[in-house]
């Protein structure tokens, strides 16, 4: 077994260590079934990294602390977090855990200049191509028309600035295009706004147009003005620094031919 994995006597992990984007996380719980489910669901994202962000997961809905910087409720479950620790409470099944993890990441990525986006990401020629669009725009279609093993995600992309360069990371969050999670990353080649069409055509976007395309597709749950200001600053920088395109595409592999290399 390549991953550090403390095992209780019963064979159930005592915790699950994950690396999503550049963020090392440790899921702790006294609930063996939740940890087992997390271990299975995020198998491709288990990793050994130090300085992990600690997340307590339990079934009992807890009150949040005054010191919590981020609190968000979802269907009877709650995520509350400060800069080093988070609590996922009221979690009765892995789908609630998955939802809270997305909500938490949308906030926890801010200090790293990162964000989550409703987008498919595909690696081609060493560069990540991010295809953005709401439900039905064609994200899963693009993923299904891409070479096997090249798809980072068909649903939720993680964009993060690393050493001054924007990268797209694989995430364990998938849509219709089911596959094993690919926990890798690549420098961003471009962001493409999906427009289904009878032909293939790609046109560059202005930075402001890219920003306006990204905003409705960003996952973000904080209600704090300071968090929104931070997010908008990150998105504006990304829009100014990453090439953005409108992509009219047919539902076949031919659209790859018009993408800039």
């Amino acid at each position: 077994m390549t991953h550090e994995h403390a095992i209780l006597e019963s064979g159930v992990p005592a915790h699950v260590d994950l690396l999503i984007g550049s963020l090392p996380l440790r899921l702790n719980s006294r609930d063996s079934s939740l940890l087992s489910a997390a271990s299975r669901r995020y198998q491709g994202f288990q990793h050994t990294e130090n300085n992990r962000f600690s997340i307590e997961v339990d079934r009992h809905l807890a009150k949040h602390e005054e010191s919590d910087a981020f609190v968000c409720d979802f269907e009877g479950a709650r995520v509350s977090a400060n800069s080093r620790h988070a609590h996922f409470s009221g979690v009765h099944h892995e789908y609630a855990l998955d939802s809270l993890l997305r909500m938490f990441l949308s906030w926890a990525l801010l200090p790293q200049d990162g964000f989550l986006l409703h987008a498919a990401s595909v690696i081609r020629n060493g560069k990540a191509h991010v295809f953005v669009g709401r439900s039905g725009a064609g994200k899963s279609t693009v993923a299904s028309l891409s070479p096997q093993g090249s798809v980072l995600t068909d649903e939720i992309s993680l964009i993060n600035r690393v050493n001054g360069e924007w990268h797209a990371f694989g995430t364990p969050f998938w849509g219709e295009f089911r596959a094993d999670g690919v926990n890798t990353s690549a420098p961003l080649g471009g962001i493409f706004r999906l427009i289904q069409s009878s032909g293939n055509c790609v046109k560059p976007m202005r930075s402001s147009e890219l920003l306006k395309s990204l905003l409705p597709c960003v996952l973000f749950f904080s209600s704090e003005a300071a968090d929104h200001k931070r997010l908008l600053k990150i998105l504006a920088a990304a829009s100014a620094e990453i090439p953005g395109y409108n992509l009219q595409f047919q539902k076949n592999r031919s659209f790859w031919e018009v993408l800039p290399s």
Partner: protein
């Protein structure tokens, strides 16, 4: 006479906003709504500081663009009225707990 948009205005401090390509994108966290301002709207927005009156903003507009004071004031009042209706600006005295001037 109470002229709509007249007075001293302040940007709503709960908003997030950025200028990009001479446009301004404003986000209202409480409503998750995006607002856009064009070039001249961005110029006025940039100069709303809790001290300048509509007349002052209009004067700045005439210095930046080829427009008469009368037209500039009408456009400024119209924009301030719309920004106020969308709660993107608030009366400066509301924030400061008294009259701005």
């Amino acid at each position: 006479m109470n002229v709509p948009g007249a007075g001293v205005w302040q940007k709503n401090p709960s908003l997030a906003w950025r200028e990009i390509d001479e446009e301004t994108i404003i986000i209202s966290p409480s409503e998750s709504v995006m607002h856009e301002l064009n070039n001249t709207g961005s110029f006025i927005w940039r100069n709303i500081d809790g001290h300048r009156r509509a007349e002052d903003l209009a004067t700045l507009l005439t210095e930046q663009y080829e427009v008469t004071q009368e037209t500039a004031l009408a456009d400024t009042l119209s924009l301030l009225q719309e920004l106020s209706a969308r709660k993107l600006v608030v009366a400066a005295e509301v924030l400061q707990g008294g009259m701005a001037r």
